[in-house]
């Protein structure tokens, strides 16, 4: 399927990447295909080692895929970068020292064909109060905000954020995402990798879940939650085999954790009635709306297609 090039935002087609490690080759990414429409905000989720950062690196042209292709607004990563269409906040990093924040942003702006005005960037990233501060005197959270300003300065069509809120406290994280949302509201495409599920839930239109180098789910966060059942029932119920509970109506999956059981349900009302009828000893019952977390653990624990043998 070939999308009209003018309509295409981000297209990753069948990306593969294998690294050499001292213990032999590691297949970090094994056939990732994702399409993102212009204006969409997409979260890239997955545990450590899922291949998120490798995928982001290939998307940005920092590493070359062994196989497959990246197209950004119909261009190669290098051409899209040269045109100033891409802004990114990479996973690790600080900023160079011996400059004031405003000077750093001005310096970076000078590299692009059509940058945003420096004052607008400072205001958008909410770093105006830091404008005259030296970069080496910023705290961790402040540094992240300045790096965000640097990512915005080219007025990019695509903003890529690789775990941007690591090291931020809860309040800073919240206000950070509000600034991302402000920028996305200008019709920009945003892709962010994170392992904070609530961030994906709250700020993304769509989530792409990766595990062991493949995409295991690609849907709206609501749909992903629905995939593993809408609610969970937790209760204390020793000595009852899980198979017996799996037969209950409305139950999609059973986990036993010591004396406790966790039932993922498609219909929790039917399930709780049947559970109480069949197992009168059950106690400490809790019924919860399933979070993205449950979905995440479930989906990344058994990837849709089993991983091929990976040499380690």
């Amino acid at each position: 399927m070939q999308t009209d090039q003018t309509q295409a935002g981000v297209r990753l087609d069948d990306l593969h990447k294998t690294y050499d490690s001292p213990a032999g080759p590691v297949q970090a990414v094994r056939g990732v295909s994702v399409a993102i429409a212009p204006g969409e905000t997409v979260a890239l989720l997955g545990p450590n080692g899922a291949g998120k950062s490798t995928t982001v690196d290939m998307l940005l042209g920092l590493s070359r895929p062994d196989r497959g292709q990246v197209t950004l607004f119909g261009l190669s990563p290098a051409d899209a970068i040269a045109a100033g269409k891409i802004g990114a906040m990479l996973q690790t990093g600080a900023v160079i020292r011996d400059l004031k924040v405003r000077e750093l942003v001005t310096m970076m702006a000078s590299l692009y064909p059509a940058p945003l005005p420096v004052d607008e960037v400072l205001s958008l990233a909410r770093v105006e109060p830091l404008a005259d501060r030296r970069t080496e005197k910023l705290s961790g959270g402040e540094t992240q905000r300045v790096r965000f300003a640097v990512a915005l300065v080219s007025n990019p069509d695509l903003l890529v954020l690789d775990e941007p809120t690591v090291g931020m406290d809860v309040e800073t994280r919240h206000s950070f995402w509000l600034t991302v949302r402000d920028f996305a509201a200008r019709g920009k495409t945003v892709l962010f990798a994170t392992h904070y599920l609530d961030e994906a839930d709250a700020y993304a239109d769509r989530a792409v879940l990766m595990a062991q180098g493949v995409v295991v789910a690609d849907a709206s966060t609501t749909e992903i939650k629905a995939m593993v059942g809408s609610r969970t029932i937790r209760a204390t119920l020793p000595d009852v085999p899980a198979e017996m509970l799996e037969r209950l109506p409305g139950v999609s999956r059973v986990d036993r954790r010591g004396d406790a059981i966790v039932l993922a349900c498609t219909d929790s009302d039917a399930a709780i009635r049947a559970l109480l009828a069949e197992q009168p000893d059950v106690r400490d019952i809790e019924i919860n709306g399933a979070g993205l977390e449950e979905a995440f653990l479930h989906l990344t624990a058994d990837p849709a297609d089993e991983p091929k043998e990976v040499a380690r």
Partner: protein
């Protein structure tokens, strides 16, 4: 893209780092007075054909500028360690412009160091024709090309932890064998020295007394080191896209 603005801020950052300048300027000047001062009346110093103040003025200019240019590498290593290098790859800044600005900064630092040393030399009675000052400056600037390449190479190969000792060792060795501390005028050491770019930096002093500083060997050695260092530096930069 406005390369001039980028270069201006890169220079501003360099010249703002006071500690860097304390060492880049202070050390060579202090060493010059300590070494050349007591020998200020020596003519044909250690059969080098030069007066001691002239010899050491050029030798310590070589040392100071060599340090200034090599330390570009330390700055690159520092930028890499905070991921700045990868950030720059996400901008339209070409590797060519990146290196141009780095080398420009290194050269301006070197030029200020040299100016200070020349002033210190004049204070100890070095007096040579204006044309010779210029020629000497030119030769030193050309002779620094291999060091710019080596600095960039080390900056991309090493981490901030290892670059200190690596650079200290390299400068110490090249300075010693190049005759910065004492002229090397004969024997096997002289043969080895002639193959090093630092030796020819020090030899630039000979234009001060109307002699030929480099000759064919000198130009060949400097050219070979320049090309070699530029090639390996470019290679190191291209390979260095990984996270560190």
């Amino acid at each position: 893209m406005n390369a001039a603005t980028y270069a201006r801020y890169e220079l501003l950052r360099t010249f703002r780092n006071r500690r860097f300048f304390l060492f880049a300027w202070g050390f060579p000047v202090v060493l010059f007075f300590l070494i050349a001062g007591p020998n200020r009346n020596e003519h044909d110093f250690a059969s080098s054909g030069l007066d001691a103040p002239l010899y050491y003025m050029v030798a310590l200019s070589a040392f100071g500028t060599m340090n200034a240019v090599l330390s570009t590498g330390a700055r690159i290593a520092g930028e890499r360690s905070v991921g700045w290098n990868r950030q720059l790859r996400l901008t339209p800044l070409s590797p060519r412009s990146y290196f141009r600005v780095k080398v420009l900064t290194a050269y301006l630092t070197a030029a200020t160091t040299m100016a200070l040393l020349f002033a210190a030399g004049a204070a100890l009675g070095v007096s040579i024709p204006a044309g010779s000052w210029l020629e000497m400056t030119g030769l030193i600037l050309v002779g620094l090309i291999p060091f710019a390449g080596l600095g960039i190479l080390m900056g991309h190969l090493l981490t901030p932890d290892s670059i200190g000792p690596a650079m200290g060792g390299t400068t110490a060795l090249l300075a010693f064998l190049g005759g910065v501390w004492y002229p090397i005028t004969g024997g096997v050491m002289h043969t080895i020295a002639q193959a090093l770019p630092s030796y020819w930096l020090v030899q630039a002093g000979h234009v001060g007394v109307g002699g030929h500083a480099w000759g064919r060997t000198g130009w060949l050695v400097v050219a070979a080191w320049s090309i070699g260092a530029a090639l390996v530096a470019a290679r190191a930069y291209r390979r260095d896209t990984q996270r560190v």
